[in-house]
Amino acid sequence: MNLNDTLMSLSNFAPEIFLFFMAMTILLAGIFKSLKKHVINITIVSTIIAMLLSFFAYTDDSVFIFNDSLIKSNVTEFFKIICYIVFLIQILISQKYLRDKELISGEFYSLLLFALIGCLIIISANNLITLFLGIELSSLSLYSLIALNRTSLISGEAAIKYFVLSIIASALILFGFSYLYGITNSLMINEIANYLSNNELSNLYLFSYILVFIGVAFKFAVAPFHMWLPDVYEGAPLPITNFIASIPKIAFFIFAYRFLNDNQILYDDNFSKFILYLGIFSIFIGNMYALAQQKIMRMLAYSGVANSGFIFLAIFASLEFNFSVAAFYVITYTVTTVSAISIITFISSNKFDVVYIKDLKGLSSKSGLISVLFMITLLSTAGIPLTIGFYAKYLVLDALVDQDMIITAVIVVLLTVIGLYYYLRVIWFMFFEKGFNSLVKSSGTINLIILSIIPLLIIAIFIFPDFVFSYLFAILT
């Protein structure tokens, strides 16, 4: 590896490296009282800069950098930019909440940035080592972030649960990695994934893939590996939940994409059925549990479980199509979840935490705009037309029907109908009930504008969806 390569690699990885340095800087800045109040701004500005760097360096070619351990292509950059945008929205919205809860500190933003960088590395990783490091970087940061609210009992509990279970998942993934390494003699993901083009499928390969994908299922919170998700949603501070619900999902989707794209294993009946049934089971469990929830975050968590099930179905469906269906689903789901949690973050304040669904009673009379935005978000999660959530579910169903899996499709849609009920319940509390939540604050024009971005996009992309589809189709082929 010569200097030229190194420079090229550095330049191609500049946004992440820049962010990394900024994360350090913020950590330092947090120590000094005089700089402490600037950490937010520094974080925002550096994220924007990183995003712009990433945006302007966008090319359609794929480049292997750092001795092929990382890869940069239009796929990675596209998803990274989405990560940046989502991240930006999250920190912009969470300011007020964090201030109320007195959680603002240098290490908070620094850790958050590290978690982001970890996810970005997962997206770019082409080597098992970098991949593992990326996973661990984001996980380690998140463990600490969840536990950040030291006075809260449930934060600690959420953190320890997430910690232990997440390490089990990591260990499973690593275990799978070790066998893959043993079979292929390589740590390069592209080589591992292409292994089958020259070799027969061995049972060991299948089992290690299943191990790895159980790890992935855990990260996506696909049932029965979902138990951590509701606890973390409930226990963690809302901005952290917001992060966990969104960016790692995108990262792990790319993880799955790397391992499965052009891989013959998808055509293996055992593996594809594994993905399929896991997905259906997850939709079932998620919806069934969400139905009885009284707490809004747990409800969203279980709805997340159901949606992750759909993501697995979408991955299954990439048999027929390509990963664009799954990618669209992941993006849709991520974005709508961010919107939902951001709205909850925004209306929670130190005096009034939105914990139960009934806390939203009469929100529409207090703030019509917020409740309409929330409604759009929820409808999108439920997959009702006029929102992109419809296309997301539509594509999955379409893929299932195209593979003549009508019964599966019917089961899935029937489960979705169950799911509809709890989304509607939120809407009914917001719109149909008389409210008393005078403590909800819904001021701040800038925040409202930021909150409106995603719901507006949800509608706008619904009306003109084709450029998204064709773009995803183009880059993921």
Partner: protein, 101 residues
């Protein structure tokens, strides 16, 4: 003659024991950390075996990374446990179920 299979079975058993340690242990959180450590070690064993048998050094490089990360994980785990202990004055796993349902 000890073949690769033996090693692999050994590491798999190690993995199983550690996993069992996690859910059979219902007393102390610290024991969890140990089980986790053991789990990662079984992975390490695997990597070393494969690396050795295939004459490829990268597997062993990976092991170093895993060890380092494991150390970091232990550190953070301990930190979480400390904060948990401060909040509730106990490390009984049985008591950690405020979040459920």
């Amino acid at each position: 003659m000890i073949t690769m299979t033996h090693y692999l079975v050994f590491s798999a058993l190690l993995f199983c024991i550690s996993v069992a340690g996690i859910f059979i242990n219902r007393k102390n959180i610290l024991l969890l950390l140990m089980s986790i450590e053991l789990m990662l070690l079984s992975v390490n064993t695997n990597f070393i075996i494969f690396s050795n048998y295939s004459n490829d050094i990268t597997g062993q490089v990976f092991v170093f990374f895993i060890l380092a990360v494991a150390a970091a994980e232990s550190a953070i785990g301990l930190a979480i446990i400390v904060s948990l202990f401060r909040a509730r004055n106990s490390l009984e796993i049985n008591l950690i179920n405020k979040l459920k349902g």
